[in-house]
């Protein structure tokens, strides 16, 4: 089987390649790329990519697929379908399921489900739980989880409050060469809060979560990473002080990376004024000054990656008073479009830099076989084809995710994933122009 992606703009951050050319996929792997590749007409399929970007498949560092235990919100099948439709070819799933991903058998279960024919065809990279459910100071069997295939360990959903426990977790993870993906929240400070503490929470009479609830833990985790040498990835950076703390930690030589999520650089607390629970996230949406600094930090590289933080919920769980609603929004199918619209089309990031934050950096920081278009670098070709200029309106009724909880319904976006390839084609968008497909007659 041979597929040729012809005449696209090849964006490969792993080699800083940004040229118009062709990509040849042979037997599930990338065989050749570049502008001077000869196209033989013997391919099984030729796809005309003129005006489109050909990128390494996007890697989502941070999604909630909810299985096991909460399949009313999402399943591996629906979540991986949503991932493919959003342009992702690898999705890292968070461990705060029921039960949490704290034993090797659950990791096996995940891989099985992800490999089922109904699933989206993307790679699922599980993130293991750092601590056991209900036992905040007891670490899981991290070595066994690593053998089972986790790519990182995280305290997502159960942020480690005790610094002593975190040091021990970091020592174990350092030894196992396992990054820690940290959910930074001081639960003493965030207790009972449901939105950013600020002028809007004052207006609405909602209990605020101070910025320091995030920042204290960002600072603590950075310092502990410096002390232990453990690789640390900070999830969901939302405040400008967090950005400055991480900048300082990197300057001090900490092995720290971080991500933010499209909601934090496009939405703010002032949008909650009619108590719409679709805007409720943890950490909470902040203010315009945070957005300004996040954009700067994306541009200057302090923020390494953009992840979706896809957090699907059932409708009935969200149609409740604001303070009773669960945190998070379903974002797998809007993250790329949001980032394209708010970053590339606004001149914040060059196309190559956006793809670096959505693919190459996430793959490198977790050591995944992804994030590059170099021939035979990865055993299985992971490619996302993007139409950067397609203008479209997001309609939540057309999404693959079971979670319909999104504040972006009806939003106009510019840019969309047209095709996702994971060895072979796993997703083709309804708006993909079929005239681009050429299937040569059999010789």
């Amino acid at each position: 089987m041979k597929t040729i992606l012809k005449n696209g703009r090849i964006l490969d951050p792993s080699t800083n390649m940004d040229v118009v050319g062709h990509v040849i996929i042979e037997d599930e792997a990338i065989a050749e790329i570049g502008s001077d590749v000869e196209i033989e007409e013997d391919a099984d399929q030729i796809i005309d990519c003129q005006g489109l970007w050909i990128c390494p498949g996007l890697v989502d560092l941070h999604a909630h697929l909810r299985e096991p235990g909460e399949d009313h919100k999402e399943t591996i099948v629906s979540g991986t379908q949503a991932a493919a439709a959003g342009g992702f070819t690898t999705v890292c799933c968070m461990p705060n399921t029921t039960p949490p991903l704290d034993s090797p058998s659950l990791i096996d279960f995940l891989f099985d489900r992800a490999a089922s024919p109904e699933a989206g065809g993307v790679f699922v990279a599980p993130v293991g739980a750092l601590t056991k459910r209900g036992e905040p100071d007891r670490l899981t069997d991290l070595a066994a989880l690593k053998r089972a295939g986790i790519v990182a360990a995280s305290d997502e959903g159960a942020p480690i409050q005790s610094a002593r426990t975190m040091i021990r977790a970091m020592e174990f993870c350092r030894q196992l060469d396992l990054p820690i993906m940290a959910h930074c929240e001081d639960e003493d400070l965030s207790l009972g809060g449901c939105m950013n503490e600020g002028s809007v929470s004052a207006l609405l009479g909602l209990k605020g979560i101070p910025r320091s609830a995030e920042e204290i833990m960002v600072a603590r985790n950075c310092l502990l990473s410096l002390q232990t040498g453990c690789r640390l990835h900070i999830m969901r950076v939302s405040t400008w002080h967090s950005v400055e703390i991480i900048r300082q930690a990197k300057y001090l030589g900490a092995d720290v990376t971080c991500e933010t999520n499209p909601q934090y650089f496009t939405l703010n607390e002032e949008m909650m004024q009619n108590f719409d629970p679709h805007f409720k996230t943890t950490p909470p949406l902040r203010s315009q000054i945070d957005i300004d600094i996040l954009l700067q930090a994306l541009a200057d590289g302090t923020i390494d990656a953009i992840a979706s933080d896809h957090s699907p919920h059932a409708n009935y769980e969200v149609q409740v008073p604001f303070e009773e609603a669960p945190y998070g929004m379903a974002t797998l199918e809007t993250s790329l479009a949001t980032a394209l619209t708010a970053l590339v089309h606004k001149g914040v990031l060059a196309p190559l830099e956006l793809i670096r934050k959505l693919s190459t950096n996430p793959a490198q920081l977790l050591g995944l076989d992804a994030g590059t278009l170099q021939p035979f670098e990865t055993p299985v070709a992971q490619i996302t084809v993007i139409d950067p200029d397609l203008e479209w309106t997001f309609d939540v009724s057309k999404t693959f995710s079971k979670g319909k909880n999104t504040p972006y319904h009806g939003t106009q976006f510019k840019g969309k994933a047209m095709m996702a390839i994971c060895g072979s084609e796993i997703y083709r968008d309804a708006k993909f122009d079929l005239k681009r497909l050429q299937v040569p007659a059999p010789a």
């Binding site: 002028s199 939405l267 002032e270 949008m271 009619n274 149609q319 409740v320 604001f322 009773e324 319904h409």
Partner: protein, 329 residues
């Protein structure tokens, strides 16, 4: 959407005046012993998800005086205690053919959800720490029974502003009608970023109530001391109590108000509570007339020029411009 009264924040000054005038005319009618016989009597559900005897009784009285019928629904002993969601409760009551609901809920913003789901009219009878619009309307009617106009008055709101829906509704109302609003309380009981709330913030009582025409005390919940937000009631009394001494800083004859229930000896002393300046019992009575006005107003045809402002929370100006990705359509 049907006309509802969810907040003072979303009302304009004309609408507030309209409701206060309506309340004053109901008061006159009832004082004369007139009986109201509406052509189209409404059925009102009183939904008190959080217990409140005073406000419920006030609404019951208002409903009866209007010639409407009411039916009570409290969360204990109902399907809510069996785990029914607010959404299903509201949808059920809609099918019970209620014309309107009066709703008290512990969660800020809950009436917004009810307003979306209930195909009828909603009056907010207090939501969490957000707003209590009929309390503020009653307080305004009380002030206007003694002073000609609210324009230019100095209105001091003293106490736990952070947790008070009464403070928020009153700050908006008196600000919209042209008063100078001052919010007075310790830093721990004051929003850290007051910016969007109307009113100047003071942490000391004396400069806050200086020359005040109206002094409103807020109730201090005992749990604030347990949470360490106030050191002790003794300290609060010394720093913020409205009493015979501290009232000397205000204008002579300043009106003293309290939404009740009182912590006598904490927020105010006997002089302030029972003396000639106390408006507390009038506030309770005027509460009935403004609730009549509110229940009447939600069913009245909006006057064309005011309709848009009065019924729907306007699209917030901030949500339009901030983001390229945009808010929910």
């Amino acid at each position: 959407m049907n006309r509802s009264l969810l907040t003072i924040r979303h009302l304009d000054a004309d609408t507030i005046h309209e409701m206060i005038d309506l309340a004053a005319s109901f008061r006159t009618a009832i004082m004369r012993g007139e009986t109201l016989r509406p052509k189209d009597p409404k059925v009102i559900g009183l939904l008190f998800f959080e217990s409140s005897t005073r406000t419920r009784v006030s609404f019951e009285q208002a409903t009866s005086y209007l010639g409407y019928r009411f039916t009570n629904f409290s969360s204990s002993g109902s399907s809510m205690s069996k785990g029914e969601t607010l959404k299903d409760t509201i949808l059920t009551l809609r099918s019970e053919r209620l014309d309107g609901v009066v709703m008290r809920h512990r969660a800020s913003g809950a009436p917004f959800l009810a307003h979306q789901l209930f195909d009828g009219h909603v009056v907010n009878a207090g939501d969490g720490e957000h707003e209590h619009p009929t309390q503020a309307l009653g307080d305004a009617l009380t002030v206007l029974s003694h002073l000609k106009s609210i324009q230019g008055l100095n209105v001091a709101i003293v106490g736990d502003v952070l947790h008070s829906r009464v403070a928020r509704s009153n700050a908006w109302l008196f600000h919209k009608l042209g008063a100078d609003v001052r919010l007075i309380g310790p830093r721990t009981l004051m929003p850290t970023h007051g910016g969007l709330l109307p009113g100047r913030i003071f942490h000391d009582l004396e400069p806050g109530i200086e020359d005040a025409d109206v002094v409103m005390c807020l109730r201090l919940q005992k749990e604030r001391m347990q949470d360490g937000l106030m050191t002790s009631t003794k300290e609060y009394r010394k720093m913020y109590q409205v009493n015979q001494e501290t009232l000397r800083w205000a204008r002579p004859g300043a009106l003293v108000m309290h939404p009740g229930p009182l912590n006598r000896g904490v927020e105010l002393d006997d002089f302030a509570a029972d003396g000639p300046q106390s408006m507390i019992l009038q506030q309770v009575e005027n509460g009935i007339y403004v609730r009549m006005a509110a229940l009447h107003w939600i069913f009245a045809q909006p006057q064309a020029k005011k309709a848009a402002k009065a019924t729907e929370p306007p699209a917030e100006k901030t949500s339009k411009k901030k983001s390229s990705a945009g808010a929910k359509a």
